[in-house]
């Protein structure tokens, strides 16, 4: 079920009334039933896969807690193999086989790949990581195993974060399912506010922007460099608004039912370095990989050379890329970020010396603008790989964009008008203006949030001001939003 569908609105309203109408002790179970229904709205049969993994991890978690020594390690390995095996089978098997076939072809070995005709279960990467987090934490004795099977199932299946995160940790989430969640109107209102903002990002910015991006990428050969530059730039906002919009709706809807989910985004486009970007972008994934991959890799060696640290960093980012999908474009996306991180750390002293020599460090505002600008350009480059359907297409996009500086100064007003016709950039001038204004509005609100916190000033205002804000958002969504129930980009992962 998509958050931006009529079906979800009805589901959410019905669940809200039912949830607060029944006694507290039954509410978690109602959420579990609702989450099953939510998940089964996509492909019903896939819930069996999900419950198989839940069952395996539930029992292994209990056994790990009671085991000692090598048995403990063996049980952990069993869980990791089961979870990653399922992920490999559904997500990477065909990719792996196709690449083996390609290699075989190169070495003139006759190998025809066996390809599976299956659809990737929705959000598999998310709940596999969330399950693994539980088992590893139990193994590390930082989390007591959950004895109630249904509560553990809800930990994995809680509908707001079931298909696209945030990837939660057991320490943060599990205890909440045992707590009492009374009706709290202030909290509910706050949750709805966050959801509304998420819907604005998704429906007004991401889905309108998608019209341009999809059109230009589908007609790359016929598009000019300027069009491709505009589309690639808009994709930066599409991706952010699509995913952070989803996360806001997830956090907000969990809050309505009394649960706290972690924030997945913290204004990433105001980052001053790539390292900071990853502390602000898809936080639940980057911290997951830091805690369960990067740190174990670094500490695996007793003598930690710089080279080993760089290697660990690079590998972590390549896997972040691969986590997104079975395509070399995602591997390239991860490798580029890994490269940025390694290069950034390696050249840090030199860059600081240069900055000091030219006096940039003495003008903080200029320094900040420079750092944010460079970070954004680097992110922009990596997102071209993220959006492209193949490495060849990514390279074609770079070629096209390279022509843009030679076109831009020569485009006349009628040329811009021509480009904005449906055949040029996929949307008319009115929709393009809506996109631009909505992005400006987003930046203003985010700047405001940086200074005052998420909607905190609105909370303190009178009802008329608050309602004015809500109405502005609701009617912006209804009038300017693309309400065609477009799926979320991260659902495919």
């Amino acid at each position: 079920m998509l958050f931006n569908s009529l079906q979800f609105l009805v589901f959410f309203a019905a669940l809200f009334f039912a949830y607060y109408a029944i006694p507290n002790r039954y509410r978690s179970y109602l959420l579990l039933v609702a989450s099953c229904y939510f998940y089964m709205a996509f492909v019903p049969a896939y819930i069996l896969i999900l419950f198989s993994l839940i069952t395996v991890d539930y029992f292994l978690g209990l056994r790990i807690a009671g085991a000692e020594g090598s048995a403990r390690k063996l049980l952990l390995t069993a869980s990791i193999v089961t979870n990653l095996g399922a992920l490999f089978f559904f997500k990477y098997f065909n990719f792996f086989n196709q690449n083996v076939a390609y290699l075989a072809h190169v070495i003139h070995w006759n190998y025809s790949p066996f390809l599976l005709d299956i659809i990737l279960p929705l959000g598999l990467s998310f709940h596999v990581f969330q399950s693994l987090s539980y088992v590893v934490e139990v193994y590390r004795r930082k989390q007591v195993p959950e004895r109630n099977y249904l509560v553990y199932a809800l930990y994995v299946m809680f509908f707001p974060q079931l298909v696209a995160g945030p990837i939660e940790r057991p320490q943060h989430m599990l205890h909440q399912f045992h707590e009492q969640h009374d009706f709290d109107s202030v909290r509910i209102r706050k949750g709805l506010e966050i959801m509304l903002w998420g819907f604005f990002k998704k429906l007004v910015i991401a889905d309108n922007t998608a019209l341009v991006v999809n059109h230009v990428y589908a007609n790359l050969a016929d598009s000019t460099g300027t069009m491709v530059l505009i589309a690639a730039t808009l994709f930066v906002y599409q991706l952010y608004c699509d995913f952070s919009g989803y996360s806001d709706i997830a956090v907000g809807s969990a809050m309505v039912f009394g649960y706290d989910l972690m924030w997945n985004f913290d204004r990433p486009y105001s980052s001053r370095s790539i390292a900071e970007f990853w502390r602000r972008w898809h936080i639940s994934l980057s911290t997951w990989l830091r805690d369960y991959l990067y740190y174990p890799l670094v500490f695996a060696k007793k003598r930690k050379s710089k080279l080993w640290l760089y290697f660990s960093l690079f590998i972590t980012f390549v896997l972040i890329g691969l986590w997104h999908g079975a395509n070399w474009t995602y591997v390239a996306f991860g490798a580029i970020h890994g490269g940025y991180m390694v290069f950034g750390q390696w050249t840090l002293p030199v860059r600081q010396r240069i900055k000091k020599a030219i006096g940039l460090a003495t003008i903080p505002i200029l320094d900040q603008v420079w750092q944010i600008g460079v970070t954004m350009v680097l992110v922009f480059i990596s997102f071209i790989f993220f959006r492209a359907t193949s490495l060849t297409q990514a390279i074609a996009v770079f070629y096209k964009i390279a022509a843009a500086p030679f076109e831009l100064p020569f485009i006349t007003l009628s040329g811009w008008k021509q480009m904005l016709k449906a055949t040029g950039i996929g949307v008319d001038a009115r929709t393009f203006l809506i996109i631009v204004l909505a992005i400006v509005f987003l930046e203003i609100v985010q700047w405001w949030q940086t200074r005052r916190g998420t909607f905190a000033p609105i909370e303190a205002k009178s009802r008329s001001v608050r309602w004015g804000w809500y109405y502005a958002l609701v009617f912006s969504i209804l009038i300017f939003g693309y309400l065609g129930a477009q799926t979320f980009i991260y659902f495919q992962f």
């Binding site: 009529l6 109107s185 609701v474």
Partner: protein, 367 residues
């Protein structure tokens, strides 16, 4: 909780209000009805026509219409065949006009596969628009999805309510006028109800304002002429024939042959000036005008079917007086076109009422 719900209800009033009036417009104009409901109403009424002002469900509506009416002669094409009426046939129930059931070649095989295997269709008169063989019309077909009440309601929430307000403020209708029309007319859809334009029971078009459209013919033709340049615009022709488009047509012919359906294809006519301008150009773009009928005729003949190039009005004795605009024939022009095809095609002739055609043609167009 009660206080919270009361506040939420109060807050929702302006939002609900924004939807209430458009909802009333949709209900009064029966825009919520599904194609199957529309067809049922048309079956049981005398002359109810259907046209929505909000969405384009023509493809599922016409496909379902073709299935349910199960005719022996089926006209297939775009809006350029919509003036072929059942009254031109000896037994009107033998005929269904599925104009606008397709808009590109890839939809042809999908359409024929949608017909039941025991369908009675014997002859398909197929208008192949000239631009069908340009690359812009070569994309694959989407499946035919019949709209449900839920999908129509979702459309209403997403887009329809906004369009209703837009039309209201443009003065296209008034609420009191609609209430009155709702009582007196059986027509379905805002355009059908207010403007009197729409699909009839036989699938053909009822146009209330043909005279008004003809009065603007010259300016409309001028607009079309402006699009015709040596480089082309992709609208009329392309610089080469799309092999993909040809392959979809071939798939269609193959499926028809498997069902023993005779296909009579033709290129529909243009207004004289439009035809002459394309013909006078000497470019690879214009050359396709010469190549297209040859390629299509060869293809149709391979399947023992027939093909006619009627791009030039004079081929079947028509003139600009019988054109509504640069590309659409009026009722008389369509009758003349059908007469020409029936005279050349023994498979079609037995169904056509030549007397009715002569009677229509005797009423000389005054415009």
């Amino acid at each position: 909780m009660k206080r919270f719900l009361l506040t939420a209800a109060l807050f929702s009033i302006p939002i609900v209000a924004a939807f209430v009036f458009p909802f009333a417009f949709f209900a009064l104009t029966r825009e919520f009805e599904t194609p199957s409901q529309v067809l049922a109403v048309q079956q049981n009424s005398n002359g109810a026509i259907y046209r929505s002002a909000f969405y384009d469900y023509d493809r599922p509506y016409k496909t379902l219409g073709a299935i349910e009416s199960d005719p022996q002669v089926l006209v297939l094409g775009t809006s350029r065949v919509l003036q072929l009426h059942a009254s031109l046939f000896k037994d009107p129930s033998d005929f269904y006009n599925a104009g606008r059931a397709i808009s590109k070649p890839s939809e042809l095989p999908v359409f024929i596969n949608a017909l039941p295997s025991n369908s009675k269709v014997q002859v398909i008169v197929l208008a192949v628009d000239q631009n069908f063989l340009s690359s812009a019309f070569s994309s694959p077909a989407e499946p035919i999805v019949q709209p449900t009440h839920l999908s129509i309601f979702e459309f209403f929430l997403a887009q329809g309510w906004k369009t209703a307000w837009q039309y209201y403020f443009q003065g296209r209708f008034s609420l009191s006028g609609l209430i009155q029309l709702n009582k007196t007319s059986q027509n379905i859809g805002l355009t059908a109800l207010v403007e009197g334009d729409g699909f009839q029971k036989d699938g053909s078009d009822e146009e209330s304002n043909i005279a008004a459209q003809k009065s603007q013919r010259s300016s409309q033709i001028q607009g079309a002429l402006d699009l015709i340049t040596p480089q082309g615009s992709g609208y009329f022709f392309d610089s080469s024939l799309s092999q993909q488009g040809l392959s979809y047509i071939e798939q269609f012919l193959e499926l028809c042959r498997a069902r023993n359906i005779k296909v009579i294809g033709f290129l529909p006519p243009y207004a004289t000036e439009v035809y002459q301008k394309i013909d006078s150009l000497h470019s690879s773009y214009a050359d396709t005008m010469q190549e297209e009928p040859v390629a299509l005729k060869t293809l149709f003949n391979q399947y023992n079917d027939s093909f006619y190039d009627l791009s030039n009005l004079s081929t079947f004795g028509s003139s600009d007086n019988e054109m509504i605009d640069s590309a659409h024939l009026d009722e008389q022009g369509s009758a003349r076109e059908l007469q020409y095809l029936a005279n050349h095609e023994a498979a079609l002739k037995p169904y056509v009422d030549m007397t009715a055609i002569k009677s229509i043609l005797s009423q000389t167009s005054s415009i």
